[in-house]
């Protein structure tokens, strides 16, 4: 009988241990226990999330591969597929920001080329504590240089992303990385092992003791001893991964492979058991044959190591020499470590002696599944209550001009140039829209088409209402893609939450998944895969619930792409959609009044869909010169963004007033900075205005002219009163230098 303390160290609960004994029909040995512990960890088994994830829409005519494989895939025409996924590397990045983030990038890239796709674009979604809090700059710098160090070296452009700063992430930053690749639709390859006697190959970096129990670490909360977990963070080698990427893509072209899978979380244990399980086969390996970087490694360590840049593949019988030759070209040695068997077992030998023998399915499909109890968090009723006059009106807020400048200079809204300038965002010469201008857009060489992609999430909204917040995240990501002129096709999600064993957290999770499902259905963007990261807590304090949504869309004509930039003076500015002065959960309330309260903006999914289809139609018909969605900071911040990076094209606008408070200053703020959803600012030439308004009317989307471009001032009147009157240059300087200035201050 294995001691209770050993079980605890493995993160296994007593009933889980009993389940292991039942599945094996005997007590496991220590190696087997270790293998179960990593495969049944939250990170690998999705045991708390699975029942909820099953409710997500995953199908559509465009979907070639839904959840369950290394990545999802969709049809993008011309016989091509876009293969993409988002994944988190939160826990390792907190412990060791550079390597944590770098290996996060490495992991998601492997997931993509494992499917036979050449990775062509990366994005990321990051969350940190307040930028002026101690520790945040170090984490931010480490994470950004880790992402840059890996992505730049391997030569995949990081084309877009988002970053938000909230104190809730101070002890637990989020690092979510998205990768997209292109493959011939007919060449997609899967992570299966089948065909008795086929050789199982190991290729890539040697196995060391790094990252043992990484998956288990990612399935536990942090406390003040977390820094001691540093050895569980792996070290990345982008050059090795580059060799693997090129060699694997060459091998895949030979048709000599049955299946392939990278060794990420839970290493060799995960890749062998998942491939065997998917193929309904057994897999037998001898750990003595596994290339090792250190001496004296035990079978336990070899099976659990999470050393980076390793792949497992199954070759067709008789084609082994071709496989070995392709790897030799890149100075990699594919080592035969075992073969496919018929018995459904994962049999691990050490120099011929069996040291572990577990049914593959016991490690994968038969992992425990929990429907954990849920209960609305106690904080909710209080924080959702917002009486503007009482909560925000007690002392005078900043003037409208002052509030806009404060918003533009807040790190969440400010230009992220300091960050994306460190990422190579142009390598592979496909980047049609540079970072900071909207969704990331890459053209597809050899076709007229381009792919647009965006990642979005709003933890504050989800904290206040996880259902609505999650819907808004889907809507915003899809809207950003539509604003580039692309039709949103599919989604991937990264669900970052606290400890699921707490009913309040599980409630947030369940509600968020419901919201994602509802929005994805309404906007016709099925979920093709993703990742769940739970236990994002430090010392019992959970992060804001943060579902991050990645959406991929297709432009039929790359040259019809649209960005947020006003193109010239004298164009008409049209607002599509309607503002309702919703300040709940807004950046304005946080920045100007220090408040995180209220309910996030309402979302009518049908109206949202109609808006997106309208923007798409207008872009395809070349009727709009720019498009920018209204999100953080509302209409005023969105209008300012349309002026920035244009060499000073200003705007003169007049918007409706709203009545949401007694205090006229708050009403003004609500009109300017309220974050009502489903709004897009477009600029059009005067000669097509009638056509644009007619098309809007036909699709039932409210549209009204709010002003025109030109001059060097941003002037906004709300409800007939001049509210904003600032030089574009001044505003742009504040927006553009907020982060740089901060880091300069740090250095001084």
């Amino acid at each position: 009988m294995i001691a209770q303390s050993v079980l605890e160290r493995h993160g296994l609960k007593p009933d889980e241990y009993e389940r292991i004994v039942t599945l094996l029909g005997r007590e496991p040995n220590l190696t087997e226990l270790g293998m179960f512990s990593v495969m049944w960890s939250e990170h690998c088994s999705y045991k708390s999330s699975r029942v909820h994830l099953k409710t997500l829409p995953t199908e559509g005519p465009q979907v070639l591969q839904g959840p369950g494989e290394n990545a999802g895939a969709i049809d993008i025409g011309d016989g091509l597929a876009a293969v993409f996924k988002i994944e988190s590397h939160n826990h390792p990045s907190f412990i060791e920001p550079y390597q944590g983030a770098a290996t996060g990038v490495g992991g998601i890239i492997r997931d993509i080329f494992t499917m036979g796709a050449r990775p062509i674009a990366l994005m990321n979604s990051l969350r940190f504590g307040d930028l002026d809090a101690p520790g945040t700059p170090r984490l931010l710098e480490g994470v950004v240089s880790g992402i840059a160090g890996y992505g730049n070296s391997i030569g995949i452009p990081t084309i877009a992303g988002e970053i938000a700063f909230e104190s809730a992430y101070a002890g637990n930053p989020l690092v979510n990385v998205f990768c997209l690749g292109i493959a011939k639709a007919s060449d997609i390859i899967k992570g299966v092992a089948s065909g008795v006697g086929n050789a199982v190959y190991y290729v890539g970096a040697k196995t060391g003791r790094d990252g043992i129990h990484g998956a288990t670490m990612a399935s536990a909360e942090f406390d003040d001893k977390s820094a001691e977990k540093r050895p569980a963070v792996q070290v990345g080698d982008p050059f090795m991964e580059k060799l693997l990427l090129e060699a694997c893509l060459e091998v895949m072209q030979t048709d000599a492979l049955i299946g392939i899978q990278d060794m990420g979380a839970a290493g060799l244990t995960c890749s062998t058991s998942e491939m065997g399980s998917r193929g309904g086969a057994g897999v037998e390996v001898d750990v003595a044959l596994v290339p090792q970087r250190e001496t004296g490694m035990t079978p336990y360590e070899i099976m659990l190591s999470e050393s980076q840049e390793r792949m497992l593949l199954v070759a067709k019988r008789g084609r082994e020499a071709e496989v070995e030759r392709a790897f030799e070209k890149w100075d990699l040695h594919a080592v035969r470590i075992g073969e496919v068997t018929s018995d459904g077992l994962l049999r691990v030998k050490a120099n011929g002696t069996v040291v572990a023998e577990i049914p593959n399915r016991a490690l994968t499909d038969e992992a425990p599944v929990y429907r954990r109890p849920t209960a609305p968090p106690e904080y909710l009723a209080d924080v959702q209550r917002l009486d503007l006059d009482a909560d925000a009106g007690r002392r005078p807020g900043p003037t409208a001009n002052g509030a806009l400048l404060a918003l533009l200079g807040s790190p969440t809204i400010a230009s992220k140039r300091w960050v994306y300038q460190q990422y190579d965002h142009m390598v592979r010469t496909n980047t049609v829209v540079l970072p900071g201008l909207g969704a990331g857009v890459v053209r597809i060489k050899g076709t007229d088409r381009a792919l647009a992609m965006a990642v979005d999430g709003n933890g504050r909204y989800c904290y206040l209402d996880p259902y609505r917040g999650a819907m808004l995240a889907v809507a915003e990501a899809a809207r950003n893609v539509a604003c580039a002129g692309a039709r949103p096709l599919a989604a991937t999600n990264c669900l970052n939450f606290g400890n699921p064993e707490r009913p309040a957290i599980m409630w947030q999770f369940a509600k968020a998944v419901e919201g994602i499902g509802a929005a994805c259905r309404a906007l016709a963007v099925p979920i093709t895969g993703g990742n769940v990261s739970l236990y994002n807590e430090t010392d019992g304090r959970a992060i804001y619930p943060t579902p991050v949504i990645g959406i991929v869309g297709l432009l039929e004509h790359a040259d019809r792409v649209v960005t947020r930039l006003f193109q010239r003076a004298g164009d008409v500015i049209v607002l599509l959609g309607e503002g309702r002065g919703e300040l709940g959960g807004s950046e304005y309330l946080k920045v100007a009044h220090g408040l995180v309260r209220g309910v996030p903006p309402a979302l009518d999914l049908e109206a949202e869909h109609a808006l997106q289809m309208l923007v798409l139609d207008l872009a395809e018909a070349r009727l709009i010169r720019s498009a920018n969605d209204c999100s953080d900071g509302g209409l005023a911040a969105a209008l300012a963004e349309c002026c920035f990076d244009t060499r000073g094209i200003g705007a003169e606008a007049s918007i409706d007033g709203v009545e949401v408070a007694r205090d006229p200053a708050l009403n003004l703020a609500a009109a300017l900075f309220g974050e009502s959803a489903s709004r897009v600012i477009v600029s059009v030439t005067t000669d097509v205005l009638t056509d644009v308004l007619a098309r809007a009317a036909k699709s039932g989307v409210p549209a009204r002219v709010i002003g025109q471009t030109g001059g060097n001032m941003l002037h906004i009147a709300a409800g007939g009163r001049t509210a904003i009157d600032i030089a574009v240059d001044d505003a742009e300087r504040i927006w553009g230098s907020a982060m740089t200035r901060y880091f300069r201050k740090q250095a001084a």
């Binding site: 240089s145 840059a148 070296s153 391997i154 080698d237 050059f239 580059k242 790359a558």
Partner: protein, 237 residues
């Protein structure tokens, strides 16, 4: 006209250079693996950007030991046009085909952005079609592009007119704020004494198509095509 694009295992702009030569300029192009020992009859050699052998030691430090570099040396010695872009420039420095060395960017950060460079000399095969003083808007993407050489070497480069590109502002003025990495004498690109080997940190292959936001890099590739066609500035054609 045949372009050879050398592929080191960590090259990552090899596809981009190939695309620019083949698909944009409509020239013949071929990849040449670093372990090969023959340039396959190429008329011009491109050493592309990337991280040739991972560059954990020093950028480009290992690449000079790749078998193909003996051929590249011979090709260059015979007067054949060789262009090193970014990591390719670093490789040329390490291989001794161009003088000087690269340091980390002065702010210690990787920089990816459009910059302006001024064409200082037009009597090289890669600037033949430029106007003297022409300002090109071309992206950079590097962490170690801070060109360094001792003052005597810089003076010699100036005297021999070997400085081919300098970082400037959009108006073509050499000002410190327009120097993205701290390079000595604002050097963005150099040639050898024979003027047939050119290295530059900016990426002209990323600025060859309007859909990518700039076509200013094309002139560098067009120059070498023109140079080879007319037999100007190249000893062998």
């Amino acid at each position: 006209m045949k372009f050879a694009v050398i592929v080191f295992p960590g090259s990552n702009c090899d596809h981009d250079a190939f695309h620019a030569a083949k698909d944009v300029l409509g020239q013949d192009a071929e990849y040449v693996w670093h372990k090969d020992e023959d340039l396959k009859g190429a008329d011009v050699v491109i050493l592309p950007g990337g991280f040739a052998h991972g560059d954990y030691l020093r950028t480009g430090a290992m690449a000079r030991f790749s078998p193909i570099m003996r051929e590249v040396q011979r090709f260059a010695a015979d007067g054949g046009p060789v262009l090193g872009i970014c990591n390719g420039f670093q490789v040329l420095l390490e291989a001794g085909l161009l003088p000087g060395a690269m340091l980390r960017n002065r702010d210690l950060k990787f920089h990816c952005e459009h910059v302006h460079i001024r064409v200082e000399q037009t009597d090289t095969p890669f600037t033949l079609a430029c106007r003297p003083g022409q300002v090109l808007r071309i992206p950079i993407a590097h962490g170690e592009g801070n060109y360094f050489a001792d003052p005597a070497v810089i003076a010699r480069l100036e005297a021999n007119r070997q400085i081919i590109f300098r970082y400037t502002d959009a108006a073509g003025r050499v000002i410190d704020a327009a120097n993205p990495n701290g390079s000595a004498a604002a050097i963005a690109g150099l040639c050898n004494e024979a003027r047939n080997v050119v290295g530059l940190m900016p990426h002209p292959e990323r600025a060859c198509e309007s859909v990518l936001g700039s076509t200013d890099g094309r002139v560098i590739f067009e120059s070498v095509v023109q140079s080879l066609k007319s037999g100007t500035l190249v000893a062998r054609a």
